[in-house]
Symmetry: C2
Subunit: 360 residues, 2 copies
């Protein structure tokens, strides 16, 4: 097992990464305020792992309530969130009860937001079970639900007490979801870790084959990168925005197609290529650099072009994005491979050309 620390002062917390962690009550117990938890999961992950987690906790004398939500990004909405509140109130959970989110990023984002709001804040623990959640969404304290007019529009910054990434749970993950997670892994290399990018160039097939040692390494380095960025900029005033490489374009893809058509990571991959094309037009990357990125994503079975929504629609959807500041679109671009930069002055014509270059 590897352990990282997210340095956030009195809100600091550990991330444990390794095998068989669902069986280890001693990792969880020190973080509970009382011997009560409320587990939030969904109808795909629940049947696979809920009983195991519950047995581990109950054997340690912890009382565990639970709610099983319907699976999917389409349910990352208020009515589903409200089912968590219904359970917490029906079970008379207290402010000192710990909410445990067991699942992918959707369960983590909703569980975290419910914990942030229930009685104005209860402690919570993330047990991410997708690669994407293990390397990205479970770390950093962003929580949210979607609104019909925009993704993640309603949420909170709220830190967990603990993140437990049991890589054994990845065994049951569909291949497409594994790939989606790799999009975020590659992202860390691109924005701030050239060395890791090199390691990925050499080890991508091991990750695709779910080699445990390679997975633990990739998750650890990814989390370390994310934790460093988050610690420097908890509420996304500056540097943290780097983590959004490919995301402004990507969110336009997700919203434009309707939530759930493309996976988040798939949209991010295509969006990253758009950002790379734009960086190329600004003279920061050469064409070989762009192709280098495309090749890596293709080895991870990820799309390197966005859907044909029409450039106008892309621009309209991007204007709704949170990265708009006083009407100006701030984009994360690449100064070089391994060096992301936040840029608010890209000429409209270049943005249009970059989108067009990467629409099917």
């Amino acid at each position: 097992m590897r352990t990282l620390n997210v340095a956030l002062g009195d809100r600091a917390y550990p991330i444990h990464i390794g095998r068989g962690l669902l069986d280890r009550a001693e990792l969880i117990l020190p973080h509970l305020k009382t011997k009560r938890v409320a587990i939030v999961t969904n109808d795909v992950v629940g049947p696979l792992y809920l009983d195991r987690l519950r047995s581990t906790l109950e054997a340690a004398g912890v009382r565990a309530a639970s709610v099983v939500l319907p699976d999917g990004e389409v349910h990352k909405d208020w009515p589903t969130l409200n089912r968590i509140f219904d359970m917490l109130l029906a079970e008379r959970c207290e402010r000192s009860t710990t909410l445990v989110a067991l699942g992918g990023g959707v369960v983590g984002d909703m569980g975290g937001f419910a914990a942030a709001c229930y009685q104005r804040g209860m402690p919570f623990i993330q047990i991410p079970t997708t690669l994407l959640a293990q390397v990205d969404s479970s770390v950093g304290g962003k929580t949210a639900i979607n609104h019909p007019l925009g993704k993640n529009m309603i949420g909170a910054f709220y830190q967990p007490k603990l993140v437990l990434a049991d890589i054994d749970t990845l065994a049951t993950l569909p291949a497409r979801e594994l790939s989606a997670g790799l999009a975020e892994v590659i992202k860390y290399g691109l924005i701030r870790d050239g060395e890791f990018l090199g390691w990925l160039q050499h080890n991508l097939e091991r990750l695709m084959a779910r080699d445990p040692e390679a997975l633990v390494h990739a998750i650890e380095v990814s989390c370390r990168n994310k934790a460093e960025v988050v610690a420097a900029d908890e509420t996304e005033q500056g540097e943290r925005a780097l983590l959004n490489l490919g995301h402004t374009f990507g969110h336009a893809i997700e919203t434009g197609l309707g939530y759930g058509e493309w996976l988040h990571g798939e949209a991010v991959a295509a969006g990253t290529l758009m950002a790379a094309e734009l960086s190329c037009r600004l003279g920061w990357l050469d064409e070989a650099g762009v192709e280098n990125i495309a090749a890596l994503f293709e080895r991870a079975a990820l799309p390197v072009r966005g859907p044909k929504l029409g450039v106008e629609r892309y621009l309209e959807l991007m204007a709704h994005d949170k990265k708009v500041e006083a009407g100006r679109l701030r984009l994360v671009l690449l100064r070089a491979l391994g060096q992301g930069v936040i840029h608010g002055d890209a000429p409209q014509a270049d943005i249009v050309a970059a989108i067009e270059a990467r629409c099917r």
Copy 2:
């Protein structure tokens, strides 16, 4: 105009109290990040004051969107909150837009919670227009909506950038609402300010007559008391719970009758008498002390007995209250007039007797 400061480090903010403040753009402008605001009000307060506030802002070059919610505690719920999000998204408000809550505690709590959640947090300003909101709900950063199973169950701790209490707006307040606000004013005297309690004994009729000088003084002292408590204990781990004198009983009354039957302040008044009866049974207050409190509330035209819900129902509803810690009911009681205390060990029989003594 009087100005107080709520000392919360980098989240500190001023409270201005006085006449004609709705016309003074110069009080608001320094607190805006950009020249855009989104005003949240309701269909009672909006017709009275929205145009004036909007003119003040627009004359100063501030663009103001707005939403007018249906009036009433029954609408302090998710569908109504969502109308704020709909407006913010339809108007393409950004994370840097400032939300302005113009109204009583319901508008303030919902506006504040919307601001806490929209894009994970936008700045907000409170312009409270009821006495209760001016002395209590607008100060301290508690925001929330109700859930069918409990009041204020879903919310956030989220501080405003500014509180603007224009006492001229109290001219249109119904008498019953003025009284309800006085319940919270009297509360500050009871829990921590014996001198203010003395002032109230002498000046209650001036307040009932809405004498501006008396109102400014009472609001200032109330806010100072609340601000001190909040600064010492922002997230209600300890001392802040003192502010809940009468509230655990009071929330049982509000929930038991259905939201909106009794006003919050009325329920608090009756609840405070239950707390006083219990304090008497514990030997802390004598009967004269209890009568002293009852007399003050009666001069403020407030109830000094709760509705006959049945003791069992009171206890059941109180068990749902947030002030339950590991199953134990923590109550705010009075050691003496002017000295509140948090107590978790009151014998059940005494709690029952106190409720019975104060049920019609």
